[in-house]
Symmetry: C2
Subunit: 348 residues, 2 copies
């Protein structure tokens, strides 16, 4: 357990401050990049992967954006540490469990990070609280430009950036927001929204991205298409759609407020009462309840809990976080008990 | 709403003090008696019923056991008042909704009461907290003896006391305990116990007696047979069986304590958390949750709540009690809101 120190510091995107934070938890952009002259990670041997690892870390060390960055070899880490990185949204599920010479570079406050030798040689990620994709884009594009000075990116005039999977080729961009839609879920409007999204070329996924389940009414909305569009167009499109969804969500919450005041309050207070009192609780249930409490805070119910605490609970009650904090591997039953205790303490 | 004053004073059996109170809420005996020379209530005309009413109330006024007793004509009461009496376990469902000249006499602290012209001319009832059927018998038999001096009971040397329904003929006695069996319910042992009961000539019913549902793991256990046995034998039998059930229940609670400490605590604290926070709650759900909290208090979890408060909540959160306290007829939705508020205030 080498990453316990990561529990000491909150991720920058957990601050509980940012535009439209009552609906959008965070905005993220990742860029897929590869080095020319090197096979894609899933086709290359370990010595090639090691060379790629070395080239990227050398470039990063020259960068102004990665001062004091942590550079970690995933093979040096225990499973629980790799899971912690995943829970922190710094590495993907596949990267955490993969093989070969994989790495992760983590910049200040986890705002910027790079997965090395995931599906592509580089997956550069920038993350900010609230709804601010344009700002994240301005930031990550500067980093990308700087790194391109030190790294020879695989780029084709015809296709754009070349990537391991063709769905990423072109801009190599995936822009996403983590969005909280309890109003649309409760009023039953969510399915209409999800259908419309897919028609607009956007995907809605679970908490940890592709292939993961939706918990606590938190959705990741991201672009599907990366080709034949500029990055600005892609971001404009998702920003426009998310702005609409925010509008629908706020309307749904307004409806909830008016229609059945007590039932609305009841839902929030019961969730709060259980979280404050439970002695054992699964992560999924905790997320469902935190979602309701979050909705309560957002619609102005005074529980004396701020959004920052709720964000922290979402992250720190995950299995690897609990295990790092206790300094030992716990079975699911023990984790459920520790999770309940942690939540009680944070809410009291 | 004439009975609002009854909210001011707790029933004597709600004190939260009594033998084996961690399992047995209350012990009750009722005697069915009829006046000779008068038709049973369901066969008689109103003028006869009125004469019976008069004879009984005159007898009661001479009695030492009914000083300051309230004598009420059910036809003088609104529906909500009659329901209040039922919720207080002073009249039966049938008596509250019946026709004709019906009455209820309520002695000091509701320990002793008489229904007039229910199924029989008199249904004398005595009620005490905890497990003390013998004491209740000693008490009620003195009252019965005294009343028999002033009233000409219908009695046959061959059959004993004559009653409207043959199942009550003989002793006319029904002895019952209101017993809380969450341990047996949680461990799944309850069905075995209920089967055994019926073989032993005992019945297990819901909270309001015959034909009512079991809520919150509260059962009324009573004798079925009234004929060919002395009252003492009947009471001995039920006491013996209930003593065994108490033993099983305590064993089940002991098991719960040992096996899964956190889950056990979890169940109790979650119930407590919901009761302390809900904004709307049905009576059935409140009973289920109060049952869990009660179990918690009984097994020594310190919630700062005493059994007296829990007893009070069981009674005062019933629909008619809520309506009397608010001074108006409420629809179910309004009652659920008021109930939640009442519970929050009592537990805080």
């Amino acid at each position: 357990m080498k990453l316990k120190y990561m529990l000491e510091e909150k991720s920058g995107w957990l601050t509980g401050e940012g535009p439209s934070l009552e609906v959008v938890i965070s905005s993220r952009i990742r860029l897929a990049r590869n080095l020319s002259e090197y096979l894609f990670p899933n086709k290359s041997q370990e010595d090639q992967q090691k060379q790629v690892f070395k080239l990227i870390t050398e470039a990063v060390k020259k960068s102004n954006y990665f001062k004091n960055a942590a550079i970690l070899r995933l093979n040096d880490l225990e499973k629980v540490d790799r899971q912690l990185l995943m829970e922190r949204h710094l590495v993907s599920f596949e990267h955490a469990r993969g093989k070969g010479e994989r790495g992760i570079i983590i910049g200040d406050k986890e705002i910027i990070s790079i997965m090395i030798n995931e599906e592509d040689h580089l997956r550069i990620q920038a993350l900010q609280p609230g709804f601010q994709l344009s700002e994240v884009w301005d930031f990550i594009t500067r980093i990308d430009d700087e790194l391109s000075k030190y790294l020879d990116y695989a780029f084709s005039e015809e296709w754009g950036y070349l990537t391991s999977c063709p769905t990423n080729t072109g801009t190599g961009i995936r822009a996403s927001v983590l969005i909280h839609l309890p109003g649309l879920v409760i009023t039953g409007e969510i399915n209409k929204v999800l259908e419309a999204l897919s028609k607009l070329g956007l995907a809605a996924r679970g908490l940890y991205g592709e292939g993961t389940r939706v918990m606590g009414d938190f959705f990741q909305i991201s672009n599907q298409v990366t080709l034949c569009q500029t990055e600005e167009n892609i971001i404009d499109n998702i920003e426009r759609v998310v702005k609409q969804i925010i509008g629908y969500e706020l309307k749904a919450r307004e409806m909830l407020k008016k229609d059945t005041m007590e039932e609305n309050y009841d839902r929030v207070y019961r969730a709060y009462g259980i979280l404050k009192n439970a002695r054992t609780i699964s992560f999924v249930e905790a997320m469902e309840l935190l979602s309701k409490v979050r909705l309560g805070v957002d619609i102005g119910i005074d529980l004396g809990v701020d959004i920052g605490i709720l964000n922290e609970l979402m992250i720190f009650t995950q299995p690897a976080h609990l295990q790092e904090s206790s300094g030992k591997i716990l079975d699911p039953h023990e984790r459920d008990i520790l999770r309940a205790k942690f939540i009680r303490e944070k809410l009291s």
